[in-house]
Structures are given as C-alpha cells and as structure tokens.
C-alpha cells in the first residue's frame, strides 16, 4: 500500500504545482528580504554601539536620559492628536454632507477634496510659508507668533491627511440602512436623537478606523515637520537629524524603534476594527436616499465651501508663489523658479529620475503585487507560506517611511550582504517605494480577486489548462480595473514620497521630491515650491491619463460587462 502511494506520489510530480510553490516561495522571500529582515536589522542596530558591539539597552537609556530628545515624543503626540482631531471632525461633517444631505454640487466638492492626494506633503508646508510666514500674505491673520512650529505642522498635515480621512468616512456613511431611519421617523424620534442612536452607531467603526489611520499618518510624517517645524522637533525629523546631521545611526535606530511602536499599536487596533466593519451591514439593507432640508443643506454647503476654499488656497498659493520672480521684492511673474539646474538638489535630472523611478515602481510593483495577491488568494499548495505572505503584506502599513528608509541603510549597506550591490542605485529606490506602499495595493488586488469565482482554477485544471493560462486569459482581464488602479496609485505615491527615499538616493539618482527638501533647506523656497507644483501636476497628469486609458481599455476589452 505504501509502495503504491509513493509510486503515485512520484507520478504526481507536476510542473504546475512546483511553479506555484516556486512563486509563493519567491513572494515570501521577497517580503522577508525587502521588509522584515531590514526591520530586524534595525532592531539589532539599536542594541549596538558605533563599533557594532552589543550593548543591551544602553542606547535607549541614553535616549531617555536626554530631555532634548524625549521632548520629541510629546511633540509628536501633540501634533498627531491635534491633527487627528481637526481632520477627523472636519472630514466627518464633510462626509455627512456628501452622503446624507441634499446639498448640490457634491461631485465637484468630492473632486476638489482629492487634490491633496496628488501633492507631495512638502507642498502644503511650503504654501504655509507663503501664506503665514515672515513675509506671508496672510501673516497678520495668524493668532500665534510664528508659523514655524506646531501650528504650521498641524495646518500642513491637516491639508495632506484630509482626503484619507474623507475616503474612509464616506464609505462608512454610505453603508446606511434606510429602514432604521424609517422606523425612527415612524416613532416620531427628534432628529438629534436619530443622529445619536442611528447615524453615529452605524459609522462608529468607520470613525474609530479613521482616527487610527490619521493618527498613524500624522505621527509618522516627516516632510511637513521638516519644512515648517522650525525648532519644534518631532520623532521623524529626529531620525533624520541623528542620521544625516550627526551620523549617529544607533540613535537613529533607537528613535525609529520608538516611532514604530505607536504605529504598530494603532495598526493592530485598526485591523481589528476593520474586521467588524465589513460584517456590519446586513445583505437586505436598503440604501438611504438623502432628503433635502434647506437650512441644514445651506449650512453644510457653506462648510464644504470653506474647507475646499482652504484646500484651493493652499494649492493656489504654491502655484502662484512658484511663478513669482523674487518674493516679496519682485512680484513679476516668470518661469525663473523652474530653472532647476541653477539650484541645489540635482536640477531637472532629479525630476526625470523621479519619473523613471515612478514608472518602474508602477510597472514592476503592479506585477509583483498582483502575482503575490493571486498566489495568496487563488491557489492551493503551501497554506502556511500563503498565510505568512498575507501577514507580511499587511505589515508595511505599520512602518513609517523614514523608519523603512533607515532600515534599508542598515540592511543593504552591510559590506557582507550580497544585495549591497543595489545600494545607491535606482533599484533600491524602486524596491523601497514598492514596499512602503505595498499594503494598500495588496488589499486592492485581494479585494478584486475575491470577487472572481473561486472555481475558475478548478475548472481550468479539469480542462487541463495550466493556471497561468487562466491567469492571463481570464483572471487578469477580469481584474484589469483594479490593476490599473494599483499602478496609478504606485506612480503617484512614488512621485511624491520623501520620507522613505531621503536616505537612499545617490548622486546619480537624486529625486525631485528630495530636491524640494534640499532647495528648501538651502533657502530656495520658491524653486522648492515650483518643483512641488511640478510633481503635483505630473501626478494629476498621470491620473488623467489613467482615467483616459482605463476608459478606453475598458470600452474595448470589457464588452462582456454590458448586458
């Protein structure tokens, strides 16, 4: 019996299963080497001295006995709490207005709120300088002495984080059940009680989720604080200062570990909450039709106009300032600030480097993400490895960019690491960017794959068609819209990210977003704004192109979607 079994097992050797195993193993290896091992290396570094000897917690003791450093923890928390408060409450009202009111012009408002997604986080900070800085046009409106500090950081971050909060809350508000409202109305419940007893509970998970997402985003932000923080130190800028300013890598690692903690905690809470939210709505729920209430709608329109006005003001200011010849002495408009070759930061070359890097990240990244998501969702072999794959794919969400960047230095810059060849090349920038933004892409791919019938693989196996043929002929075409979404998401984020790549570029691979940082450091605020504007326009162009292409492709290849 056992002899026959082993004989059968030998006959059962088939290339397809082995190919699947190989891809799963490659996926696990990829995420281990590009994510987990660098992070662990960083953890080890935080326990070593400059010479690489193990010194236990001495670095941490040194850190906590230095009040100049520990102050940053409170500063970071302060910034994160205030920003979260402002952003979440604003986005809450805004999302309510967009989903539940009879307000007109919702589409327009919604489009305007997407604007910050395309700007590098440095852009609002630069705008703040022109609006409220020492020579700012609205300087007198500022209630505090100086925009350089917590107020500037909170305002800049609020601009940048707003669309993220809005997206989650709109989803939460959209999951409404009209039957509950009808029941409440039939019992003559006053509307404030309806709000407290029906509306609020139905969005509670979305709300908690938003709070944690925004908290994570803001406590880990680097760009805004760097540009407009002045003397106000936060954890992310401390890492940068320790590493770039003082070459104290150990202390950089210590601060990174400390920054990783709140991010991890809020990540775990967020995942927990997420699980609740999806199962909340019953399949028989009836979607709510927003009703009109003139006074409420007018007030909400005013509110949304103010918010969008602020967003437009910030963007408009940056654009305007980028064309001013020499603020505030020569207000004539010119393209002088766009002559990047005259400035620090790598000039136009860095812009083209950014384009190249983003294109690679979009192309390679989409392929990797989709393949890994496919393997983790649709195939049978190696269940444990696939679980690990799913877990690792979620982790990047919890890792702040600047921490990932530093971890990459530690891991890839080791002389005895064969991967060290990548150090200073375009490849490491692409890899880092891909890993940094991996989770959202992975979730997008998984969501669309889950909507595809699970039996397709079984059917094609029964028809003796290899799985890769079905992947190419069926699964990929079906998931095409989300594949395009992933690629444009990667492109835009690769264009605008600063934090993760700020440690990793070399003289040949300077990037535009980093150039913004350097020009600002060198005092060339206007060219910095110009570059930031250029990045934003490029991202917008990419998004428009994506929209046109997907429209075209979907028209042509998705004929079957029409009935």
């Amino acid at each position: 019996m056992s002899a026959t079994l082993s004989l059968a097992a030998k006959r059962g050797f088939d290339t397809e299963t082995w190919l699947q195993r190989l891809i799963v193993a490659a996926g696990v290896l990829f995420l281990l080497l590009a994510l987990l091992v660098p992070l662990l290396t960083m953890l080890v570094k935080s326990l070593q001295n400059g010479a690489g000897e193990y010194i236990g917690l001495s670095n941490f003791i040194a850190y906590f006995s230095n009040p100049a450093l520990t102050e940053s923890i409170l500063n970071s928390l302060n910034i994160a709490v205030w920003t979260t408060l402002i952003v979440v409450s604003t986005a809450f009202v805004f999302a309510y207005a967009l989903t539940r009111s009879g307000m007109v012009g919702k589409k327009g408002f919604r489009l305007l709120t997407m604007l910050p997604l395309f700007a590098p986080s440095l852009l609002p900070a630069l705008s703040m300088i022109y609006l409220f800085g020492n020579q700012g046009i609205l300087k007198d409106w500022l209630p505090v002495d100086s925009i350089y500090g917590p107020v500037g950081i909170v305002m800049g971050l609020s601009f940048w984080a707003f669309p993220h909060a809005l997206m989650i809350l709109i989803t939460a508000f959209s999951n409404s059940d009209a039957r509950l409202y009808e029941a409440a109305k039939s019992m003559k419940t006053p509307s404030w009680r309806v709000f407290l007893t029906v509306t609020l509970p139905s969005v509670r998970y979305g709300l908690i989720n938003t709070i944690f997402v925004i908290f994570t985003l803001t406590i880990t932000d680097f760009g805004v604080a760097k540009v407009i923080g002045g003397q106000y130190n936060v954890l992310a800028t401390d890492i940068y200062k320790q590493v770039v300013g003082q070459q104290n890598f150990q202390m950089g690692a210590v601060v990174s570990v400390i920054l990783l903690l709140p991010a991890l905690v809020s990540f775990i809470v967020e995942r927990r909450v997420q699980r609740h939210q999806s199962s909340q709505l019953s399949a028989r729920a009836v979607p709510l039709q927003p009703n009109k209430a003139p006074l409420r709608d007018a007030l909400l329109t005013l509110f949304c106009t103010l918010v969008c006005g602020f967003l437009l003001l910030v963007v408009g200011m940056a654009i305007y300032a980028s064309f001013i010849t020499f603020w505030p002495y020569n207000m004539a408009l010119s393209f002088n600030n766009y002559r990047f070759d005259m400035m620090d930061g790598g000039g136009w070359a860095s812009y083209f480097n950014s384009l190249q890097m983003s294109a690679w990240a979009a192309v390679i990244g989409t392929a990797v993400v989709f393949l890994v998501a496919y393997m983790s969702e649709k195939i049978k072999p190696m269940p444990t490895a696939r679980k690990l794959l799913q877990l690792l794919a979620m982790l990047p969400m919890a890792v702040p960019g600047i921490v990932l960047g530093l971890a990459y230095i530690f891991f890839f810059n080791q002389p005895n690491n064969p991967l060290n060849l990548m150090y200073g090349t375009m490849a490491i920038l692409v890899l880092n960017t891909l890993v940094h933004f991996y989770t959202v892409c992975h979730l997008t791919a998984v969501t669309s794959l889950k909507q595809i019938d699970n039996e397709f693989e079984a059917v094609s196996a029964s028809l003796k068609v290899p799985f890769y043929t079905t992947l190419r002929r069926v699964t990929l075409p079906l998931a095409l819209p989300s594949v395009l979404d992933i690629s444009v998401y990667l492109f835009v984020n690769a264009m605008t990210t600063v934090s993760a790549v700020v440690f990793l570029y070399s003289a040949e691979t300077t990037l535009a977003s980093v150039a913004v940082l350097h020009m600002d450091e060198a005092g060339d605020t206007a060219p910095a704004a110009a570059m930031a504007v250029l990045l934003m326009l490029t991202s917008l162009a990419a998004k428009t192109l994506h929209w046109l292409i997907s429209h075209q492709i979907l028209q042509r290849t998705q004929r079957w979607r029409q009935r």
């Binding site: 299963t17 079984a458 003796k464 998705q558």
Partner: protein
Amino acid sequence: MTTSTHYLQIQHLRKSFGSFTALDDISLEIKEGEFICFLGPSGCGKTTLLRAIAGLEQQEEGRIVQAGRDISTLPPQQRDFGIVFQSYALFPNLTVSENIAYGLANMKIPRREREQRVQSLLDQIHLPEIGDKFPGQLSGGQQQRVALARALATEPGLLLLDEPLSALDARVRLHLRNEICALQRKLGITTIMVTHDQDEALTMADRIVVMDHGRIAQIGTPEEIYRQPATEFVARFVGSMNLLPARVLSHNQLMLGRKEVQVPLMLPPCDEGTLGFRPESVQLHAAPWGLDRSEQLVFQAQLEQVHFMGAFVRLELGYDAELPQIHVDLPVEQLHSLNPAVGRALWLSVPAAALKFYPQEGQNRNPVSEAGHNGQMNLGVAAMQVAGA
C-alpha cells in the same frame, strides 16, 4: 493491479477539516457508463467527496482508482474528468464558443476541427445560435448547459456535476433533468451528480449513494433506496414514510404508544426502535374480517383529515395520542368506493413486505424486513408518486 470491471473505485476514503470529519471511511464502486447521484442533506460531505474524486481536495487516507489507474495523489490536471459547478464558473469575459473551446485550445487540434466540435456541442445542448454571446447575456438554464458543454468538450471519461440544477427555477429544472439524462445516455459517459433533491436523484440516477454525516448510509438503485431504506435516516430522507417509535415486547410483539400490536416480522433482540411503512403501502378496510395477522400488520385508526393531492388523496389518521399521525395515500377511485367519513374508525393493514423495523441507533444496525428478495415488484409507480408529491 486492479483488474476489476469497475471504472471508478473508492476505498476507505477519509477527509477531515481540522477536528471535523467530513468524509469517514467511504468505499464505493462505480461501473462504466453509470449515472450516480450523491444524495444527502446539506453539509453531509457530498461536495467534499466529489472534490476528492476530482483531486480538488486531498484525502488523508484511502485510495481512488479510475480506469485501473491509481489517481489518489494526482493533482486535478492529471486526472480525467469534466466538472460543472453550482455557480457554473463560466468565464464571463469569454464568449460562449471560447468558453466551450477553452480546454480544446491546448489539445493541438486544428482550428477547423475545434470549431466543428464547438458547434456540434452547441447543437447537442440545443443552443446552436448563442456561440458569440457572453455568459452574462444568457439565462441561468442556458448558462448551465454551456457549462455542461464546456465540461464535455475535452471528452473526459468521468463527468462530475455539483448541484447543477439547484440555482434554476422549478420548470427549467425539470426540463434540464431530462436533457442531462438524455445526453448522458447518448454519450455513455460515467457521471456523478451531487444533489440534495431526492426527486432529482430518484428520477435521474442509475444508482444513488445516500450520505449522512460523512458516511455512506446506503447505496442502491432508486427503487432499492425507496423500497428498502437501509436506515431510519434514509427512510426519513427519501420519500415520505410513517415512522412510529415502538417498544419491543417479544419477537413479534410491539408496543405502539399505549397499544400492543402483533407484527408479521422477526424482531431483533432490542428494547426500542422505529416501525416504518410508506403511506401508499397501507390498505384500508371497513372491518378486519379475513386479515391474516401473521402476514400483515393490522390495526385500527380514526380518520382525522383528507387532503386532495391531485392524482391521489392523502388521509391523516390518528392511532394513538402519543404517536404522530399516520399518513395513507390512496388512489382517488378507491377512496370513493370506501367513502369514509371524517371521525370514523377504519381498519388499516400493511403487508409484511412493506414493513421496516429500525432498532434504535447503537443497538442493532441491521434493519429487519421480509421483502429483501422480491424487489422486482413494480414500485416505479410509487417512486413517481413521490416525485410528483
């Protein structure tokens, strides 16, 4: 190694999901060209067994031999079968023709021949015109037939169908039943169909495998399953059956409720069990004269309700307050000749051959009956009655 005439042999198959045993020591043999139904309630492991045969689930123990080849550990692509899922799993972005030709593409068949094959399959499913449509543009029944054509396109030796009709409305379902049967007979392809619908199994299958909690409860032709349900479970699940809890008093004496009756059976040595008989096996009499109690069960019950069911009437009779009502099905004419009034006491007789006694679970698992040998009697009528009920 296996020289038997059986096309598919399943030996001691076992499969569990964590601590839950989905398949428990399943053994089964299927002849070439047979139409087999796996029948059982939801969650009894029918789909799991089908998927194990397809290689889509890997069993922990046991062997599967198909056409003399041990396929126990082969991956699905190295086995020889076509499959239709409940969801049909048609590729929505490919046309009907492309769907059907999907498995032909890598068989190195010239294009012309491929097109011919597709067209002849479309003809066989009586949908010659729909080749250029997309699955989303078809009705459920049409989709189902396309899925069938796709599974048959590569001419597999074994066809597996997992509840292929359950997503369709009743009328289409009846029509497709016949169509699938006709196609199967014509092609002579060995077929296994999973269903939880007893009518479907009784009318379509050559043999039925009744499953319960991961185990096989009974294997047999529809007639055997209907006439000789091996366990109380099968009796309850297939057709309708009067099942009366009883205490055993002696080898031929039962306590039914508070009444003692003599039964024309050799009862096994046990304390309790269930006495079962089909509603249509009961005969009604105005008086007990001439009824032989050693050849039939005879008792008196009160007529409580009469339901007109079309071809027959169903009477509900009360025998004992502690027992469930007894159902009796009669042809309409017979009722007229008897013409009983509600409330009247009638005499019932059940021939020994139609009586089953199931000892209580865990006491003695062999059912007792006298009629194991004369299964040739025409009970197709009864089966149809059930199918129509």
